[in-house]
Amino acid sequence: MIEYISQPWPWYFSGPLITLIMFLLLWSGGYFGVSSNLRSICAIGGAGKKVAFFDFDWKKQIWNLVFILGALIGGYIATNFLSNSEPLQINQKTIADLAEINIPFQGGVMPEVLFSWESLLTLKGFIIIVVGGFLVGFGTRWAGGCTSGHAISGLSNLQLPSLIAVVGFFIGGLVMTHFIFPILFNL
């Protein structure tokens, strides 16, 4: 059993389980939308005194903060107790494409040459970690949701605004990957 769980999970097992997460959150009186937490954290920090957008009752969102704390703990449990040490099975074409822009693949979840404290002080590391994080936070709030709120909750509820947002997510991701990465990583 544990050996079976320790293998990577296929999409047709993972996808339905994420729907189960969405159901459990709705059933518990919440909803599936992670990026709301970023707004709550601003409000907890006192941003509501300066900017009206953060002047709301964040205490009603504590359940969501507890949920992402769980997501962190779940990551720890999965990687320490439910994983084998097999390298990631990424398409060889992706590995070759990334090698062309000087990003190595060593079997790990993330390219550690980019995601490390040492890399933070390099131009590429700074853009990926700092600028990337900023754009995620800015874009998700402007669009009113992220992958969970729009792509999963919104599309499941047949919301046209969510479809427009997801089209935007992909325009941004495709332009970044195919047009900006070749310039950025050949600097």
Binding site: P16, S28, G70, L72, F138, G172
Partner: protein, 137 residues
């Protein structure tokens, strides 16, 4: 104590995100390069089953644990904020290889550097709030 169930749901979510490899920067690159069905399969199957589930919740008027009928807030109408905000989010998604949920799970996976990305995402959200009235919606 009412928060315990959210902690448990979160733990299950973090395990799924890790075991499905949806937290992987490389998996997101595979997706944006159309070189694997994996991420499309995950998101697609979640949504297809989710559509059926939400229809059932609405039709059967299923109640939450607290006994309230589960309600769905329709998203406000509009195009600009969704498209423009979405594109900005997409840039960040491709760069960091993660959206807000997986960022927290990655810390549990030992990538403490993502704390910096989360701090910057919070700053990005604050910046949006600050300029909200000047941006098209």
């Amino acid at each position: 104590m009412k928060y315990i169930k959210f902690l448990l749901i979160g733990i299950l979510f973090g395990i799924i995100m890790t075991k499905s490899e949806a937290i992987s920067w490389y998996r997101i690159q595979e997706m944006f390069r159309f070189q694997s069905f994996h991420m499309y399969g995950i998101i697609g199957s979640t949504v297809v089953i989710g559509m059926i589930m939400i229809q059932l919740i609405k039709y059967k008027q299923i109640k939450s644990i607290e006994g309230k009928t589960i309600q769905f807030q329709p998203k406000e109408k509009g195009v600009k904020r969704y498209l423009l905000g979405g594109i900005i989010f997409g840039f960040g998604w491709a760069l960091t290889g993660s959206c807000p949920g997986p960022m927290f799970t990655l810390i549990g996976n030992g990538f403490s550097i993502i704390l910096v990305s989360i701090a910057c995402a919070i700053l990005g959200t604050y910046t949006y709030g600050y300029f909200k009235d000047k941006l098209p919606h």
